[in-house]
Symmetry: C2
Subunit: 211 residues, 2 copies
Amino acid sequence: MINIALPKGALLKNSISIFEKVGLDFSDALVLENRMLTIVSKCGRAKALLVRNGDVPVYVSYGQADIGIVGYDVLRESDLTIAKLLDLGFGGCTMSLAVKHDSGYEKPTDLPANCNVASKFVKTARAYFEMLNIPVDIVHLTGSVELGPITGMAEAIVDLVATGKTLKENGLIKIDDLYQSTARLIANPLSLRIDNTLQELILAIESSMNT
Amino acid sequence: MINIALPKGALLKNSISIFEKVGLDFSDALVLENRMLTIVSKCGRAKALLVRNGDVPVYVSYGQADIGIVGYDVLRESDLTIAKLLDLGFGGCTMSLAVKHDSGYEKPTDLPANCNVASKFVKTARAYFEMLNIPVDIVHLTGSVELGPITGMAEAIVDLVATGKTLKENGLIKIDDLYQSTARLIANPLSLRIDNTLQELILAIESSMNT
């Protein structure tokens, strides 16, 4: 049986569609999302683990899931050994640098040296400012990052932006994009090498996307 | 104006009661919890930041909140400089070590050397096993930690247990308690030293708890 790590939340619906196209029906997970941890496909050939987006690489890396779907933003923060297979195209958003709209900062180099930048994506944010050679202090928050600039704790935030509505509601504007994020298909490297059924499933997913 | 960091979620209702008893009414936050980031008390003397439990120490440490309420479990994971003031008594739960009920493990030393232990509380789990001198690998998960033993990824979990219902539903049992966790009142050390109004508020909270 193939084990699949599916991300709960915003990416779940489209992730289920991906597997539905290749004959694996996990649609019950959409009804019962909050309570279920695992679900067997209606055909009985595969089992899905319903986990947080951020935990998908863990289950895939440790081999409890052979494949999984996860946002590229999570992959960029992860150090785990996983095979990155396909860009699935959905869940599109941008990792962006944003500041208060009336801050006067128009580009990253306008930020004062050693200012605070709040982010859930600490590695991403740190790598970005190192690349630009701007010394800043990254403040790790786990939610509502936009409160950083609002309260004056941080001059800027590095966060995922989908529609831009949250930024606007909180008086923030983007001044740079770090990268585009979409949902990705990942696999356990060992499973990928030795499991023929898994290889066929991945090929089927790939062809279903091109049709 | 005093700035207060309040934890969204399970601790919010009791946290609001604490401040209500000393004349600061943030009860609107209970109705609109998911949308609001800040709320001014009805008397206008204080402002609450509604943030994740895990982010409360950050806002207090950086001084954007003068005081805050947060679970002891979060404090144990945090390295930030904050003044720990009062045990507020509510939000009681236990940080526990749990295994599959049919695993045969009855105490921590029964766990095989170098086995995996899943936890959201990486520092706590690591310190615990170091104290016992048991070499284990801590696997960091962000949610549904009980999936670790269920999928076979981990032999045990270190997690917060309130009623024990989640453990039972997932076929897990506790084999040790690390510590009791309750909600704590914390303060920014500098605010605490220089702000008389804040000192009076803390004394008022302390006396309201003893009546």
